[in-house]
Symmetry: C2
Subunit: 213 residues, 2 copies
């Protein structure tokens, strides 16, 4: 398969979410244009990276007589999943079991999709022992051993800001490949570790910008 | 001031975060191109919406003899803030005081920037009475009264998925203008209410896509 450029991957991921919410009926690239704001040309090009035939844009599917117009969510969705590497389960862990971290310990499987929570870690041994949890909890010094044993690829980093950089480095050294960072600091890590930052202030700002007129 | 297009606003917001982390030295549009991936032409155009002179790109500031090359973070940052409507404090509340919601009750002011937490709400009166909090907590039926009294503009919605739509409608009816939605559901609200969704699954997926090669 052709290598998919990063921006196209991001759009395909967004498209997949739209398809998940619209499983019932085919969507034309015109429908998708209205839902995403991207041009139907861009959408058709992104989908062309997947190879295969998933229906098509306005008139696209209609080229063949008797074919309904629009992309078929039931075939397009799995094709995007496969192309983006989302067609296998991946394990993740929660690091830092304060209020935020322990909230994520208790997420339901439908909130996690193809991801499986495998373990939780905290530097406070006492907290690890008393917290109720659906997955095993370990003191932080066991991160290298447990990450390796459970083949954990991703960590939700929920430690306080002042501990975040050191924890992230420990996770990177243990072989973690991606970190969702909830601590309000910018992490400095080797380029092979991917980071996504979730900062409440950024979400508030994005809203404030939208409502400022 | 000229009306700034939405995509330019989003880029300016991102630029503001970069400037906040790089207060010391001027940044050329070439530096910013490397940090953002946007063309220096786009960056210069976005900044031109602000009006005024903030230094400039490679060669931009050098047009005047003795002017250092690059944008000056100390003048550019407040100009972006003003243009995006981020130059005044806005009040927000937390709705749903389970683990996730009560974590956000206890965020420190440096994690919130120009936003001020004004109140918390939960449908469980008992929880409202026993939770320790730096701000007043109220039962959910007091949302209309408190939103109005404290001039709250934004809500962090941390209720369980099955309660999210009803809570969001109540907030919209009370005059809330923006919602950060942490519940794993898609909210259906009047267009004048802005929504930002924070779904852990989406963050995990975005990471999985990045690490899948």
């Amino acid at each position: 398969m052709e290598q998919i450029p990063e921006p196209a991957k991001e759009r395909l991921l967004f498209l997949m979410r739209i398809l998940e919410k619209n499983r019932e009926k085919p969507l034309t690239s015109g429908n998708l244009e209205a839902l995403t704001g991207w041009s139907s040309h861009t959408i058709r090009k992104d989908i062309s990276f997947l190879g295969g035939d998933y229906g098509g844009g306005p008139g696209g599917g209609a080229k063949k007589a008797g074919t309904s117009c629009g992309y078929n969510p039931e075939t397009l969705m799995p094709a995007i999943k496969a192309a983006l590497g989302l067609n296998r389960r991946r394990r993740f862990c929660v690091v830092g079991l304060g209020r935020l971290g322990s909230a994520y310990l208790n997420f339901q499987s439908f909130e996690l999709g193809e991801f499986e929570l495998a373990a939780g870690f905290d530097s406070n041994v006492n907290r690890v022992e008393i917290l109720k949890s659906p997955v095993p909890l370990y003191p932080a010094y066991k991160i290298p051993e447990a990450v390796n044993r459970f083949a954990i690829e991703i960590a939700l980093l929920c430690v306080p800001g002042e501990a975040a950089q050191a924890s992230a480095e420990k996770l990177a050294a243990a072989g973690i490949r991606g970190i969702v960072n909830f601590a309000p600091v910018v992490l400095s890590l080797p380029p092979e570790v991917a980071v996504r930052n979730v900062y409440v202030m950024d979400e508030l700002r994005a809203l404030a910008v939208k409502i400022s007129h």
